[in-house]
Amino acid sequence: MEYNVKIDAFEGPLDLLLHLIKQFEIDIYDIPVSEITDQYLDFIHQMQRLELNVASEYLVMAATLIAMKSRMLLPKPEILDDLSDEPYEDPEDTRQALMRQLIDYKQFKEVADSLRVDESRRLLLLAKPADDLTDYETQNLSYLPTENRATVYDMMRALERMIARRKLQQPLSTKIDKQVLPITKQMTVLVQALRASANPISFCQLAEHYDRIHLVVTFLAILELMKKKAIICRQDSNFSDILIQLGEEADHFDTDEETFDY
């Protein structure tokens, strides 16, 4: 059995059970306890073997399934002892309850799927932010209506929208961060920048426009260029700014295979 699906792909144990029910063509209205338990445990074990973090709620479900399966194997006591410390739990009741829970959850999952379709259709229609019409207000601006007041959630939502907007305005989005920024390329960029500039460039100057990943790559590029004597770095004292200028090998350094990229 191949498991191409990661446990992260599931929204919890119920979701995983629904997946197994679908995969093994199990009748959701008459779930065979033994089979579903085996499939479920098998999956969890595979995930653990792959050293994937299996959240506790998956393990709780595993325990429930095992308990149900083992009780099914035992004969039902002929006389029910209501006074015993552990009242008898009919495994059939547990099975029915689980089935109802799964059916219930499945419905909402299906609704969620249909909402996803509605959402994606909706996301194709874009509108601009509303203009601030404060300048056109003829009434007294200091009036702050107490009905329909803005809430803290309105404020948080505004912040969230602002962050989304800002993310897109930045030269490097999250998406691009993840892409390879080759050190070799950054080395070339640096040397070109130094050639274009009559004076040495300070490290702080380089750091100005970059995010963290960019900065790390730039720093590594500097180290690599120093090694190849393509640049010379100077620092007057501890923690003072580092000045970078072209070195003797600047015209014929080559970005060989030794240089690893991130």
């Binding site: 119920l14 909402f108 994606s120």
Partner: protein
């Protein structure tokens, strides 16, 4: 005032209000000599004109109690090229499931949602509150007085519904667990029906999207 003039005012206001859009009753106040019916007719004919006009990239879409100007869907590939235009992030699967449960079971507590989903829904609830799709609608009786949640009108707007009735019809089936227990067979039939309905609407949706 000529209908032309009225249309120009409506267009201008739709432009300014952007994603917030404009309510029908706001328009009534701004154009007091115009009945709601006439306004509705005017906007509907504007809608049609935008759609018919291939030289226009704009269209009027409905929002609860009003209208909003948006770009046409076929503009997306070109809009994508403009980094400065923010794009909305869709909801996570967890958030979608959670909001679906709230829509059918409201008012509903976090514990009930957790039980139905079989996992903690705290983060999803938080996201939905922040996006304004759900709100606190009260407190449960009894110990703990748990917060109860319901959907907002923004929920309808976000998914393009005019009312909750437009949601897939499993409301009765899923919301009354006790009845469900007693009338299990009935429930089963209803469920089948719902699944059929869902399949049918789903196919239709796919058609629209992929056409």
């Amino acid at each position: 005032m000529t209908p032309m003039k009225k249309r120009s005012i409506i267009e201008g206001l739709l432009y300014l209000t952007g994603e917030e859009g404009i309510d029908l009753n706001q328009l009534e106040k701004i154009l007091p000599d115009t009945s709601a019916q006439e306004l509705r007719r005017l906007v509907e004919s504007m809608k049609q004109d935008y759609l018919d006009n291939n030289a226009s990239g704009l269209m009027i879409t409905d929002k609860p109690d009003g209208y909003r100007l948006t770009t046409k869907p076929e503009l997306i590939p070109y809009i994508e090229k403009m980094a400065s235009i923010p794009k909305a992030t869709p909801l996570s699967q967890a958030a979608l499931e959670t909001v679906a449960i709230i829509a059918y079971k409201q008012p509903v507590s976090r514990v009930t949602i957790d039980e139905i989903r079989g996992v903690k829904s705290e983060r999803a609830l938080h996201t939905l509150l922040l996006k304004g799709l759900i709100k606190e609608v009260g407190r449960a009786e009894g110990a703990g007085r748990a917060i109860l949640y319901g959907v907002t009108s923004l929920f309808l707007d976000y998914f393009g519904f005019h009312s909750l009735n437009e949601m897939p019809p499993l409301f009765e089936a899923a919301s009354q667990p006790n009845e469900q227990l007693d009338a299990y067979d009935l429930f089963y039939d209803k469920y089948k029906e719902t699944v059929e309905n869902l399949k049918r609407t789903e196919n239709k949706d796919e058609q629209i999207v992929s056409e």
